[in-house]
Amino acid sequence: MSNQNQLTTVKEQTLNNVQNRISELQKGGFKLPSNYSPENALQSAWLMLQDVQTRDKKPALEACSKNSIAMGLFKMVQLGLNPAKNQCYFVPYGKDLQMMTSYFGQVLIAKRAGLKDVKANLILEKDGFDYQIEQDGRKVVSKHEQPFENFGNKIIGAYCVVTLPDGKQDTDIMTIDEIKQSWKQGATNGNSPAHKNFEGEMAKRTVTNRAIKMFVNSSDDGAIIDDEMQGVSPAEAHVNQQISDNANKKEIGFDEAEEADHEEVNEDAENQRLMEEALAEENGKQKETAQPGF
C-alpha cells in the first residue's frame, strides 16, 4: 500500500514536472506537432511505465532516476509519439530510462516530415529481382517478379521504397545477412521470439528503419512549425520564457528621497544661512544706522 502511495507521488511529481515544463516551453514558442495531445501520451506512457522492469526484475519506476524518466517522457512529447500505438517504448539501462522510437514511430516521424509513402517487400529465393542505380545515385527496382509458389521460400533479402515529398522514389536494399548482422546489435542478438517466428516481418522493419533513417534524422522541424512563427529551439523557448517572466520586474536604486532630503537640508541650511546673514546685515545696518544716533 505504501509502495503504491509512493508510486502515486512519484507519478504526480514527474508527470506534473514534465507537463509544466512543456506548457512553459509552449508559452515561449516551443512547438509540438499538430494533432498531438501531450496529456494523452503522457498518461498512457505512465501506465506502460508501471510494467517496465529492469534486467533484475525491479520496477523501472523505482530503479531509474526521476530525471531520466522525465527526460524520456519529455523526448517522447517533443517527437510527438504515442506509446499506446507502440510508437515508442521505454527501456531501462541501469539507472537510466531511455525512450526509444519504434519502427512505427520512425514511420510516423518520417511521414510527418513529408515522406509520402514507405513500402517494404521481401526478396525470396527464386524471385526475379533486378534493380538499377540512377544517375543521381538513387536505386530503383526495375523488376521484381514473385510468383505465388515462391511464398514460403527462404528469405534472401528485403528492400524498402520510400516516396519523397517531390514524388521521387528511393530504395534501400539489404541482404538477409546484412539484416541479421543488424539484429545482432540488438539486446536479444536477433534471438527473440519475434525475430525467430516472424523473420519476414522483422526483416521488413529493419530495412524500413534504415531507409527512412536518413530522411528522418536529416529533416528539419518543418512539420511541426507553424508558418507564421519562426522556429525556436527548446533552449531558446526556455530563455524567452524566463526573460518574459522575470526580466525588468522590480525597481531598485538609491533612495532618492534620502538624497533629496540631503539636498533639501542643504538648501534649507543654505537659505537659513543666507537669511541669517541678511538679518545680521540688516541688524547690523540698523545698528549702524542706530549708532550715529547715540
Binding site: 525597481e251 531598485i252 536604486g253 538609491f254 532618492e256
Partner: protein, 243 residues
C-alpha cells in the same frame, strides 16, 4: 568623470571611472600592466575595485590588484571561486546592500549568469549621478530609478547566432542562457526611465556574434540617446549633466 575602457569583450574586461582625485576600477579581467598603464601608474588614486563574477575575463588580475594594496569588492561566491576569500583585501558583498568606497556609492544586485554568485552594480558619484553597470547576464530582474549613465552588455543578436552557431547547439545554448541579447538589452532599456540618461555605452559585444554598427543603430533607434559601442582604449566623459 572619465570612463576608460581598458578592455571589453570575452578577451578581458576592465573599466575605469576616474576624476582628478579618485578612481574606481570595475572588473580586472585584463593583465595588471594594462590596469597600471591606464592609471598612469598612480595606483594611490584607486579607491577600490569591484568585480561582478569570477570568470577569468572579469577577474584575471584579482590577486595582483589585491597585492597592489587595492581593496576588491565582490560577492562571497565570487571571492570563494577566485580563492581570494581569506585575503584581507577581499570585501564580501551582500546583495543588494549598498556600500561606499571614496565618494562612490555602490549597490550590488543579482544577475543571471553561469557563475557562482554573479552581480551587477549601480554606482553613484556626485559627478556622474547614477551609473548602471550590467554585464554577463541573461536578463536583468530589475529596473532602476533616475539613471544618468548606462554601461550595459549587448552580447549577441538572435539573427547572427542562429546562422553562425547553427552547428554548435551547446555553445549557442550557453550564450543564450548567460549573456544578454540585443533584443533583451533594448527591452531592458525601454523598461527604465531614460529621461535623465546622458550616455548608453554598449560593452562586451561578442566578437563573432554581434555587429557593432547594427547594435549602435538599433539601440539609438529604440532609445533616442547617445549610444557608444565600447572598444578597448575608449575614453569618454560621463557626467550627471550633458555639459
Amino acid at each position: 568623470m572619465e570612463l576608460t575602457v581598458i578592455g571589453t569583450g570575452s578577451r578581458g574586461n576592465a573599466y575605469l571611472l576616474e576624476n582628478d582625485s579618485e578612481a574606481l576600477l570595475i572588473e580586472c579581467g585584463v593583465n595588471i600592466k594594462a590596469i597600471k598603464q591606464a592609471l598612469n601608474f598612480n595606483l594611490n588614486k584607486l579607491v577600490g575595485c569591484i568585480v561582478t563574477h569570477e570568470h577569468k575575463d572579469h577577474s584575471k588580475s584579482i590577486k595582483e590588484v589585491m597585492a597592489a594594496g587595492v581593496n576588491v569588492y565582490g560577492t562571497k561566491g565570487t571571492h570563494e571561486a577566485c580563492i581570494t576569500y581569506d585575503n584581507h583585501r577581499a570585501y564580501k558583498l551582500n546583495l543588494p546592500e549598498p556600500f561606499k568606497i571614496g565618494n562612490f556609492k555602490v549597490m550590488p544586485f543579482d544577475v543571471q549568469h553561469d557563475a557562482a554568485e554573479p552581480c551587477g552594480f549601480l554606482i553613484n558619484h556626485p559627478e556622474t549621478g547614477n551609473v548602471l553597470f550590467i554585464t554577463d547576464t541573461m536578463y536583468c530582474h530589475y529596473t532602476f530609478k533616475n539613471l544618468h549613465n548606462i554601461i550595459i552588455e549587448a552580447n549577441y543578436s538572435h539573427e547572427v547566432i542562429r546562422v553562425k552557431l547553427k552547428e554548435m547547439e551547446f555553445l549557442k545554448n550557453r550564450v543564450m542562457q548567460s549573456h544578454m541579447s540585443l533584443d533583451t538589452c533594448i527591452e531592458f532599456l525601454k523598461s527604465n526611465d531614460l529621461s535623465q540618461v546622458n550616455n548608453i555605452i554598449l560593452i562586451h559585444l561578442s566578437d563573432g556574434n554581434s555587429d557593432e554598427k547594427l547594435f549602435r543603430t538599433e539601440v539609438t533607434k529604440a532609445t533616442g540617446k547617445t549610444v557608444t559601442v565600447a572598444d578597448n582604449g575608449l575614453q569618454m566623459e560621463i557626467n550627471k549633466t550633458p555639459f
